[in-house]
């Protein structure tokens, strides 16, 4: 049910997630923010087992923030992805593994490039130009295969995102409705209206 998308472009990463929190047939909340801001240039969309999601997402957020406060600068997206991967992999073989899928999007201020990582609950991490989690991924990935351009401007990127959202609305039985969209680039994080 929970859908999230992300795509990279020229100097930015767009991360979008639906804002519905549902239990069985009832929508409990329709304006939930499922994208955590881990550091000034790092976004993380989460989905999966209710409870595990927020617990793990906050655990990651607090630890990444701690690193940044304790040390002199924030973790770069690649290093953050490695840390998250290790946490998930260690959780996997514990008594109660976290069942959380993530999309980690960030701007590396040292190399001046956008980075996007698809992470699943098994601790699989891949760096990708675009990604999606949930049933919506079945529609979004094919569209992005066709239309994605890694050098696209922000407007073109947002148009691509809108295409994915519209397709999911058209074809998925349980339409998520509203999405929260956040962009990260050299200037930091901001929310955009789609």
């Amino acid at each position: 049910m929970e859908t999230s998308f992300a795509l990279t472009g020229k100097g930015y990463v767009i991360v979008a997630a639906d804002t519905t929190a549902a239990r069985s047939i009832v929508k409990m909340q329709i304006d939930q923010d499922k994208i955590k801001e881990l550091s000034p240039h790092l976004l993380m969309a989460y989905s999966g087992e209710p409870g595990d999601t927020v617990q793990f997402a906050e655990f990651v957020e607090r630890n990444i923030r701690l690193y940044q406060i304790r040390n002199l600068y924030p973790l770069r997206p690649a290093a953050a992805a490695s840390w998250i991967r290790r946490s998930l992999a260690e959780s996997l073989r514990s008594r109660n593994p976290y069942s959380v899928n993530l999309l980690l999007g960030g701007y590396d201020t040292s190399s001046h490039t956008p980075n996007l990582y698809w992470i699943d609950y098994l601790g699989t991490v891949v760096e990708v130009p675009f990604a999606a989690h949930g049933y919506g991924s079945y529609f979004a990935l094919s569209l992005l295969d066709r239309y994605h351009d890694p050098e696209a401007s922000l407007e073109e990127g947002l148009a691509n995102l809108k295409r994915c959202i519209d397709e999911v609305a058209k074809r998925l039985v349980v339409n998520p409705g509203k999405y929260k969209v956040k962009v990260v680039d050299k200037d930091g994080i901001r929310e955009v209206e789609i």
Binding site: N71, Y73, R76, A78, A80, S82
Partner: protein, 281 residues
Amino acid sequence: MARRYDSRTTIFSPEGAYLTLSIKCPDLTRLSCTGRLYQIEYAMEAISHAGTVLGVLAKDGVVLAAEKRVTGKLLDLSSAKEGGGYGGSGEKMFLLNSNVIGGVAGITSDANSLVNYARTVAQQHLLQYNDDIPVELLAQRLCDMKQGYTQFGGLRPFGVSLLYAGYDPHYHFQLYHSDPSGNYSGWKATCIGANNGTAQSLLKQEYKDDLGVEEAIGLVLRVMSKTMDSTTLGSEKLEFAVLTYDQVAKAPKAKIYKPAEIDALLRAEGLAKKDEDTEMK
């Protein structure tokens, strides 16, 4: 670290040499009336008799040089000559991580222990974050440990000062110095060990902010030749290392010179030993 206080404590004696005493010592860790931590001062005194280590920061690299004290005809340095590994004879210069070289001055066994700790810390960071440890962070970790030994456990401090020459993508080339108190600072050029005062003033006069790594090498060798105890420089008495950035591999490049390479470098700089009858080129 000790779990309980001991009446047998290893201390530095004021003259700079160290002995083990089994006497009922007052708390090693209590401050004296003047508020000074004498053990740390004695440790620094021990270091001031050790072989010099000199470091200079250039805009495209960091250069380290050190004077070896353990030399002699009977010394078996065959592993160092072929370089089987990371270079250096294992006395002054050590590869701490692929992006950091450490130069040590002080008690060699203490230094070896710290170098091993630094290497472990760097690898732990690599395991967690799949990323080379930032240079300052490595210096901090070592300093946190050294500070612990000045406050807990009733153990003596490490009698070692280190120079860390490193590169990371955040602050690029850096040079740090840490001492037995657990204090560290960043430098453009600095010196530890014997004659460090002389070397430091020479560096102050001659250092320029825009030095390239080649000029830095020249500066380091000139200052070393003026401060070292021996009359001429040679690979038996000198250890040398340079840290640069390989633009092709997009990674820092740490090079600890082999003895043959040091001799070649000295000849190129015109500082090598002259033969009696032949002229320098």
